[in-house]
Amino acid sequence: MIHTSETMYKYLRPDKKFPHVWCAGCGIGIVMGALVRAIERTGFTKDEIVLVSGIGCSGRMSTYLDFNTLHTTHGRALSFATGIKLANPELNIIVVMGDGDATAIGGNHLIHTCRRNIDLTALIINNNIYGMTGGQYSPTTPMECKASTAQYGTIEKPFDICKLVEACGASFVARSTTYHAKMLDAMLSRAIDKKGFSVVEALSQCPVQYGRRNKKGSAVDMMMWYKDNSLSNPAFKKIPPGEVGEQFPVGILVDLDEPDYLERYSQIVKKAGGDRL
């Protein structure tokens, strides 16, 4: 049994960095709680973890959590993290990004990190909007939804982040939501333990910038929507095409055993007659 408040307190920087900037009803705090529980479960010490974040609401997580942290530029967190992993493979690196951060300005880095399959854990908090800058539409804003830069609704097709990273070669892909908080920390534990590039998409409500504009109700209503529209992957696969509607699968979607980048690197070094990485 994990005592939540004690665990949280252990990993936070409560004296220096609070109060936090997240709005009332924001889901990112729930995601941060799940991440802390997941790390607690893996048994790594705080010093064995590096938390790398980009820019945006999600980027603030590296400010509040007491690990080795690197707060980087918008969209580039995975590239910074790749450097850390190459230079010190012993470290466990968790990269926290938002949907705009990871799939718009950082989309290039995301697809190539997948392809490279380097041993990092990416936590992509998807709230379907650029929250911090005032509600502009992002690559995951659903079609026809309103945003401050789409007064009559977006006309661009959104990414399905899990499908995108699966297609690009990530070893482990999972999705959970702020409603499924316990599942989220279980997914994150698995992702951290997984060798290779792991991606966990956490659907997280933004009642202020996304929900309000699109009449999604309160934060609780938005979480209930996650509950009502999510299915396990096997159940989701049984839905006939054309009847999927807004439903989406949660849980582990991809779990492959493939050599990661550093393993392949090590093999090529040996092949070339070298004796170390």
Partner: protein
């Protein structure tokens, strides 16, 4: 002449100016503190108030400016707005735009550059882009910013200039503050700003190439001609300010604006919103009999060398105030440029540089007063420190 005053946010005033300049393509990516401008433009678009215009919210600043390079090459009047990291990310494309001689206009809402992360104001972002071949103008207040935006289209699109222009306003201090402003009237703006009619465009009936390979036998001449465009721009900036005055009745100087400078012994030089504070301090100092004045630099690129030489020639000392630093030289850009334009001239005025207001640090009147006191001391006993921070917190070091 125009006249009706309304109280609006700085960002709104800029968005309104862009609207009445009748852009054809607007492309932007969210970044604080620029965002309100493009949000207001997005609202105008949704309300059908910008005819013949396309608006796209792209996936990065790199794409935002690249989109405009494409659009501008087809002959569209193009606009974007950004800040800080967004502008730094555009760096490569800034050279593309100027090298292809595309008169894109961009508002830079000045913000400090990370690391450490700061959303607050200084000029490090635009100053870092000094050598990219863009015209750089700096506004003191919202009215000037609003008017300068229209002027910048006219300057950039002049057939003898054809260079992109960034119009810089201080983040939050100007972008988020509400002030009484005369919003540009559509009719007067149409009279002031002609339709954009470029000589060279991408057109299937008359195919052209933009940005092609230039081997060592031709590359230098492209750069030389960009500089020629900048030289011509000096006069066009002054002309645009005069034309604007004729139609709208407002004038802020052309390349520079002198304030109580004529008989000044201590001559301060600065850019942007800090100028307002400096003017207040000068008024106070003048009432005490201290001969202090100011040169507001409106145009940083092209740098108005001749105008500055003649403006400072009678001063006992020139003091620059910079919201940026060249790390490794320990000088702000204005300091470096002013010194450089006085060297090899027959003007022998000492120059002192102060850096201040970095990362949004407030610049109270007392800081300006302290700078004036130090300058007065330097007239008597010589300059002890050439360039330093005026507001360093020694207790943190």
């Amino acid at each position: 002449m125009s006249g009706k005053m309304t109280v609006v946010e700085g960002s709104y005033a800029v968005a309104h100016s862009v609207k009445v300049c009748r852009p054809n393509v607007i492309s932007a990516y969210p970044i604080t503190p620029q965002t309100h401008i493009v949000e207001d433009l997005s609202q105008f678009m949704a309300d059908g108030k910008i005819p013949n215009c396309e608006y796209i919210n792209v996936e990065s600043e790199f794409s935002a400016l690249s989109t405009l390079v494409g659009a501008s090459a087809t002959g569209a009047r193009t606009y974007s707005s950004t800040s800080s990291q967004g502008l730094e990310l555009m760096h490569e494309v800034l050279f593309n735009a100027s090298g292809m001689r595309l008169p894109i206009v961009m508002t830079v809402v000045n913000r400090a550059v990370s690391a450490p992360i700061s959303i607050w104001n200084d000029h490090q972002d635009s100053i870092s882009q000094r050598d990219t071949g863009w015209i750089q103008l700096y506004a003191e207040n919202i009215q000037e910013m609003s008017d300068m935006t229209a002027q910048s289209f006219k300057i950039a699109e002049d057939k003898d200039v054809m260079l992109p222009a960034m119009v810089c306003m201080d983040g939050f201090i100007l972008s988020h503050v509400f002030e009484p402003v005369i919003l540009l009237e559509q009719e007067l703006t149409d009279e002031f700003l002609p339709t954009y009619d470029p000589e060279h465009v991408l057109d299937t009936r008359n195919p052209l190439s933009f940005g092609t390979f230039a081997d060592p036998s031709t590359y230098t001449e492209f750069r030389y001609l960009q500089q020629k465009g900048m030289d011509v721009a000096l006069g066009k900036i002054e002309k645009a300010a005069e034309d604007f005055k004729t139609i709208f009745g407002r004038y802020y100087g052309g390349l520079i604006e002198p304030y109580m400078a004529e008989d000044a012994e201590i001559l301060l030089m600065a850019m942007g919103s800090v100028v307002g504070t400096i003017k207040d301090v000068i008024d106070k100092a003048r009432s005490q009999g201290i001969k202090v004045g100011l040169i507001k630099v409106r145009t940083f690129r092209p740098f108005p060398v001749e105008v500055i030489r003649s403006a400072v020639s009678n001063a006992a000392i020139v003091v620059t105030l910079d919201k940026n630093i060249s790390i490794g030289l320990n000088e702000g850009a204005l300091f470096t440029e002013v010194k450089s334009c006085l060297y090899n001239s027959d003007i022998n005025v000492p120059v002192m540089g102060f850096m201040l207001g970095h990362g949004g640090r407030d610049i109270p009147m007392s800081t300006i007063q302290m700078i004036i006191d130090k300058a007065a001391q330097a007239i008597k006993s010589g300059i002890k420190v050439e360039s330093e921070y005026a507001d360093l917190r020694g207790e943190l070091l």
